[in-house]
């Protein structure tokens, strides 16, 4: 069967070199974008209790309001792992975050391992935001992550989607985990979702149910998480 066709046509070509090279489809074709909110038990206290934290790191974690959280039991590995480029992102945030934001990684140096995955989806490390100023810290971290992604990774792969989880610790105990999967340009939805809630620190985060046609939320996620 004939499967394709091409036709030669001579036409004058202006010396603009970038016009025909990126066939990035419209956003709607690349989604569904995923944005979920779930209850979670990860807190700074639970991280400190892990076997990968020593006394010095414990002190540091208690002061931090941004913590990079390890993945455990990834592909049955016994050690904690982080997605590739975590160290780079950690240093980037350390250098650029305004005063008052202290970031830390929740494992000792000797237990730190990175795993490189596939380019179809850029996996970002899970980041926990703790303390009483999460409403201030969260958008800054989301912006820094977006900037880093644009500078470091996405200039080569403009169609790459990212998977990113932010954990927001509540002063009342427990936390909420926001899972995002979609294009980097839409990362701001994490902040928007958090800001729609009455209070990030003390209440359940209500996912945006209307007005955002690209969101793909499970119909019962709101009720479940309440």
């Amino acid at each position: 069967m004939v499967s394709g066709l091409f036709l030669l046509t001579l036409f004058s070509i202006a010396p603009s070199y970038m016009d025909d090279t990126y066939f990035t489809p419209p956003l709607a074709e690349r989604l569904p974008l995923k944005l979920l909110v779930e209850d979670d038990s990860t807190t700074v206290a639970s991280l400190i209790a892990s076997p990968w934290v020593d006394e010095a790191l414990c002190t540091s974690l208690c002061q931090a309001n941004v913590v990079f959280v390890q993945w455990e039991n990834f592909r049955d590995t016994s050690s904690p792992v982080f997605p590739t480029h975590t160290a780079e992102l950690f240093h980037y945030i350390q250098e650029r975050a305004p005063s008052g934001i202290y970031s830390e990684v929740a494992v000792r140096d000797e237990d730190y391992n990175e795993v490189s995955l596939h380019a179809d989806l850029v996996w970002l490390p899970d980041i926990l935001v703790a303390g009483t100023v999460t409403a201030f810290v969260l958008p800054i971290i989301v912006n820094l992550v977006s900037e880093w992604l644009k500078q470091r990774l996405l200039d080569r792969q403009p169609r790459t989607d990212v998977k990113f989880q932010m954990i927001i610790e509540s002063p009342q105990g427990g936390s909420k985990r926001i899972t995002y999967e979609g294009p980097v340009e839409e990362l701001w939805r994490i902040t928007e979702l958090a800001q729609r809630s009455e209070s990030i620190a003390s209440t359940v985060l209500h996912p945006a149910a209307s007005g955002l046609p690209l969101l793909n939320l499970p119909p019962d996620s709101s009720a479940e998480n309440s």
Binding site: I13, M18, F23, R75, Y112
Partner: protein, 297 residues
């Protein structure tokens, strides 16, 4: 313009190499010969700069060496395509892409003064003409990472002071993974390493032998180009193919336009033809007359 770019234009030892690289549109053999001659001269300038502790000059030399490497690699790729070595050319395009990426942090690519913007656009355009869709992508757990400059083991909180992608003594800093475990291999559409193409069992398709039928678009485009520096473009659209090409499809079968809904009779059969993908390749320099026709693949 940054310090390094200014040095490239003004330093007496770099004047001649800079001019030679800027006049890249000479014949392929002439340009290759010129690049060969230039290599020892640049190496000497860099050695002296490092000995004198002139890091800016060493970095400027690295930039020119990298520009030369990209131009050389691009000419090699063009030759591979001309010889129908499509998989080898694919790997070479990836090398160009990586080298351009390393250079981009230190050197402006957009002005096209050394043909870099043209090479960058051509690289992506050639890649877009390949049929490759499935790649093997390994999941690798990195156990030990070393600095490419000083070979020190780099950990999360204890760096060696060298920054990745920065230039030290005229060398680009990378990280080397010296201990690792492969956790799994996945099949993906958009891999980190593009060379890991999943071929069919046919060795002719795997790059050992030329197989022009497997690369119709790339084959067609390279036949239309005389010089690697000729401007060309690709436009993607759809057009209707004559129904006579689909005589083996029954009217009750799925429509050959691959639309999700409707049979052939309900979809394209009442139309003047079957809607199919259509690629228009435009050349600024007229190609041979035999290419001036529609080709169905």
């Amino acid at each position: 313009m940054n310090t390094v770019e200014q040095l490239i234009l003004e330093h007496p030892a770099l004047k001649r190499p800079q001019t030679l690289l800027a006049h890249y549109q000479r014949t392929r053999s002439d340009h290759r010969a010129m690049l060969r001659k230039m290599t020892p001269h640049l190496a000497n300038v860099k050695r002296t700069a490092v000995a004198d502790g002139n890091q800016d000059l060493a970095k400027a030399v690295w930039c020119l060496e990298t520009v030369a490497e990209i131009q050389r690699q691009y000419l090699t790729t063009f030759d591979m395509l001309k010889q129908s070595k499509f998989y080898a050319a694919w790997c070479s395009l990836e090398t160009i892409d990586n080298t351009l990426h390393a250079l981009k942090r230190h050197f402006q690519l957009s002005s096209n003064e050394y043909g870099l913007a043209f090479i960058k656009a051509s690289t992506v355009r050639w890649q877009s003409l390949y049929p490759y869709a499935i790649f093997a992508s390994p999941e690798i757990l990195k156990r030990e990472v070393r600095c490419g400059i000083c070979d020190a083991v780099v950990s999360l909180r204890k760096g060696c002071g060298h920054r990745v992608h920065e230039i030290y003594d005229g060398k680009c800093c990378f990280r080397r993974v010296t201990k690792a475990e492969v956790l799994g291999i996945a099949l993906v559409h958009n891999p980190v390493q593009k060379y890991s193409v999943m071929f069919q069992a046919d060795p002719a398709v795997s790059g050992g032998e030329s197989n022009q039928e497997a690369y119709p678009l790339a084959h067609y485009a390279i036949n239309g180009l005389v010089s690697p520096w000729d401007v060309w473009a690709v436009e993607r659209t759809t057009t209707r193919h004559p129904h006579s090409h689909f005589s083996d499809v029954a009217s009750t079968d799925e429509c050959p336009c691959m639309a999700p809904q409707g049979t052939y009779a309900q979809c394209c059969l009442p139309q003047e033809g079957v809607l199919r993908p259509h690629v228009i390749i435009g050349f600024s320099v007229p190609p041979p007359r035999k290419l001036m026709k529609r080709v169905y693949v």
